[in-house]
Symmetry: C2
Subunit: 593 residues, 2 copies
């Protein structure tokens, strides 16, 4: 089963949930119209369907092969990457000054979803290049910008992020890599970095490594980390002192090489400082919102792919006789209520996660593009609040949906040949990298809830309530119990938010930390439900205006399913958050025995 980019659902979500229409009307995107967005996404969808998706299975089988320090990607990979950059897709969100098309994050997010649905192992590479471009624009010297940005924007070169070391994963304070000033403005970098995605490959002639390291006199901890640009090939064409030592044998995304990189075997790799000394972590944080959103989009992407594959199988595979709507002979399993529940769960979770990710992208756009500073700050805080939810919820449901996809296939799901199992294997990395989902939950509770003294999260909750109020007024029978169920979920979120904010302000961090993960899920259920309700309201309006696209009724049905079958988990999550750190005092007992 191949992938068909769900462009119409994507465009609908962008327009009616993430606010593309409003943003265009506001003049936020001066060069964009809804029609142009549609045209671009149609084209991106075709590329994803026709060029990338067919490589996914072979990429998994072949993987990336390391020999004598060089990595060969899977057959067809290099050609596809070249075609992709030549079609301008890498440059889509890039700055116009360096050859980019300067198109909004919202539009690019839809594209990122499609590249990753087509192949997660393909899609993750450009995410890192995008992050490096952003770091250079914000923090790079003019020389570095001039030397590197154009080729990174076009995709002629790729970039990597070198953060992790064996002893320093989530805790970057423990970094040990060193950087010595050479006296000529350059630095000599040495150290070992692990889990470096596309750290070495044959897709491009050069690779630009962004590397976190410590200067000799740097303070300990995170305030003593600087960021350096270390190219594989130096401007004079000579090879730099950096090499790929080994690659990981991973559960999934086999086609994407995950490298252990050694810097400075022969006296130190030549590097240039990006930003100020000892402010490297600050530079990293700049790009973190975007990269985390991109990984969230990977979760949406793999969920969409798994859903499409499971639905196709369920329409084809016949077993038993359905109790309702029986056909001649055996029924396609899609007619069995239990299979319908699985498929609708997959589709509803995917749609909710997509909506949250696109809303985050729109907020990031507004944080850059709004005219006045107050609006930019408000949008930035909204984006900051939503980013950990977009990353963690989308990647969690990516795994859940891919696992349900295996289940819908029955025994065929466990056989690698069908591809359903690959989606589960691929999906499993996304809750881990770019900050584990546990870290995202802590970020949400500890750093994001206090934004603007709590006003940011309160405004978000108010926006959810406003949608539910509209649903309650609607009175359309097709909405079923959507209104009351979502209202209950939002009230659970509101009470849980107050509880956590209070815990933080009364210096009870363990209470907040203990509740972080269920709180994030609760936030996503309320926000995801509200977003699907907004889509359903728009669909209902279009129906009443005479638009008879059957997808509109489907949007209402999907929203209802989410509210009645998924958002109802909110109460239990609230109970969990409220019972809080009660379990911690005895946890050591239970874990020791």
């Amino acid at each position: 089963m191949s992938y068909r980019a769900p462009v119409s659902d994507i465009v609908f979500t962008m327009r009616h949930v993430a606010g593309l229409d409003r943003a265009v009307a506001d003049g936020l995107y001066p060069d964009l119209t809804v029609d142009l967005a549609q045209t671009i996404l149609d084209e991106a969808g075709r590329f994803a369907n026709d060029v990338i998706a067919p490589l996914n299975r072979e990429g998994d089988r072949h993987g990336a092969v390391l020999k004598d320090g060089a990595i060969t990607t899977a057959p067809g990979w290099k050609e596809a990457y070249k075609a992709w950059t030549e079609a301008g897709w890498n440059a889509l969100p890039g700055p116009v000054d360096y050859g980019g098309q300067g198109l909004p994050m919202l539009l690019n997010s839809a594209c990122v979803e499609m590249w990753n649905s087509a192949s997660m192992a393909f899609g993750i590479g450009p995410v890192l290049t995008m992050g490096a471009i952003e770091a250079l624009i914000k923090h790079g010297s003019d020389d570095l910008k001039g030397g590197y940005l154009e080729k990174l924007v076009s995709g002629e070169w790729t970039a990597t992020m070198n953060l992790t070391e064996p002893q320093a994963g989530s805790d970057l304070a423990a970094l040990r890599s060193r950087a010595e000033p050479a006296g000529d403005g350059t630095y000599r970098i040495s150290g070992q970095k692990i889990f470096i995605t596309y750290g070495e490959h044959d897709l491009t002639d050069n690779i630009v490594h962004l590397v976190l390291a410590r200067l000799p006199d740097a303070p300990a901890g995170t305030r003593g980390i600087s960021l350096f640009l270390v190219p594989k090939f130096l401007p004079d064409g000579t090879r730099n002192d950096v090499r790929c030592h080994s690659i990981e044998h991973k559960l999934g995304i086999h086609a994407s090489p995950t490298c252990t990189m050694i810097f400075g075997d022969h006296g130190g790799a030549i590097g240039w400082l990006v930003g100020e000394e000892n402010r490297g972590l600050n530079c990293m944080f700049t790009m973190m919102n975007n990269a985390r959103l991109a990984v969230g989009l990977q979760g949406v992407a793999i969920a969409e792919r798994a859903y499409q594959q499971a639905l196709a199988y369920a329409n084809e595979r016949r077993q038993g006789r359905a109790a309702v709507g029986a056909v001649e002979g055996m029924s396609p399993i899609v007619m069995h209520p239990d299979v319908q529940r699985n498929l609708l769960t997959m589709k509803a979770l995917t749609a909710a996660a997509r909506a949250i990710c696109y809303m985050t992208a729109e907020a990031l756009d507004r944080a850059h593009l709004e005219q006045d500073e107050a609006s930019r700050k408000k949008a930035h805080e909204r984006a900051s609040l939503l980013t950990p939810v977009a990353k963690a919820f989308s990647t969690d449901i990516g795994v859940e949906v891919a696992s349900l996809g295996v289940q819908v296939h029955g025994g065929m799901g466990f056989v690698e040949e069908t591809g359903a199992a690959q989606h589960l294997r691929d999906a499993r990395i996304a809750p881990i990298y770019e900050g584990t989902n546990g870290i995202q939950a802590i970020d949400l509770v500890v750093r994001k809830l206090p934004l603007s003294g709590g006003a940011t999260v309160q405004a978000q909750i108010a926006s959810m309530r406003a949608i539910v109020t509209r649903i309650m007024k609607e009175g359309t029978p097709a909405f079923g119990a959507t209104g009351p169920r979502l209202r209950d979920a939002i009230e659970s979120l509101d009470r849980s938010t107050s509880h956590l904010v209070k815990s933080l302000s009364s210096n009870a961090p363990a209470e907040a930390l203990a509740g972080a993960t269920p709180y994030l899920r609760l936030f996503a259920l309320a926000q995801g439900g509200a977003a699907l309700a907004e889509a359903a309201l728009a669909a209902n309006r279009l129906i009443s205006e005479g638009d008879n696209d059957p997808a509109h009724a489907a949007r209402i049905a999907l929203c209802r399913f989410f509210a009645e079958n998924i958002a109802v988990g909110a109460q239990g999550l609230e109970d969990t958050v409220m019972s809080g750190s009660g379990f911690l005092q005895d946890a050591s007992l239970a874990l020791a025995s």
Copy 2:
């Protein structure tokens, strides 16, 4: 990280939750004492730890290799199987008349858990042999019993179950394999069977296939299926007309060959009828409860293994500084609240699933061993009720716990070298085989709730309530909100049960089918919580009697964590069951668009 059989937790669960002490006191197990059980389980644990567990990783890497119709198992596999049978483990539950030790299902279930924790790919083989033994005892002719039982009981030969065909998975009515009477009392079997676990291997000299096929004059559907015994080697030593055509490339349990078997390439494999003509499905159902319980135990087993590995990693890996209980330098990640939540969730789900499986085993024992028929019937119905819950809940949580285990490992969890990923890959088959978990949920609702006019399920709910009443009376602060939370979960179960029973009796099957999966989960949360509460009550009593084993306080803490953090999902599941088939009418819309 290797496996250490959790014998003391296992024995505690058997004694105080599954009722081993009571069963021994009742005289149910005349040849067993608690001390003897402990001795046997200690020995089984050692074998699992020392002989089987070390093979698990290499079994995964090497897999089973098919060449010229013969399969070679992974290095060390054959020797381990031989040592295992020679130590008498295969014969443990087997009938005394045929060389077995006749020990109870409850005891064997604990062993099955341990074999499967050590290696799921190893553990699944004997499950099939056990099923065949049972079918032959109940339905085989004296000749078949005499010719096969002894070697199957000892494990000198293994057995397979040949049900599935490409067009007939969950729906056995669609079977096409044929059996022609040869006129001499034997039959000629022909057809293709897929997904045959250990259909071919090098562990033993002979393999006994039990095969479902149709006689020439058989009625259509499930009432026209007969069961045949088809040995790989005939009694005269010649090779039968059956061969392994291919093996599957699977997501997990690589060391266990999954075969496509071809019967009758050369005129028909020689087979013998087991039971009556056209009553084959009946013979299969005989052994189904046991096999389903065994697969449930695989879920427990892989969860236990994943938990042990994650806990060991979390104690060793240091990152960041914990907010509470900080140590010198970086804290072991086990000290971070979010990691504690993950580990406690893993442990609590595993313990709840274990308790449900062992309770099911004890019910199966009573169904065979009780003196009077009324007691046997009651126990049989209780076992029938609990079996789908044991199978589906345990295997669902097997996947969930293994996935959390990957998460606790962070990036290292995605690297195959650590083994955490293998557990997830292995775990993923158990919700599928031996009846998908969707089928289990339908079985629970449609066939099991109506048992004895609903009295069976009501008695089970009453037994849960009785435990909660005891918890409420206890007043021990360490129980926290255990009582109210479990009470709420049981009341949700009670209301949902009434709703589904009413739907069934008012001829609304779609309503019941639509709610089946969330209902099964709700049942398991209530039953699992009640079981952990029973363990906690026993632990509390022992503490008050002066037993200062720290594991007792841990059992109370674990029960509390389950009640306050997991059982609280019951309300949402009830809401889902109650909203019922509302989603079905619009499902086709949402799935078509």
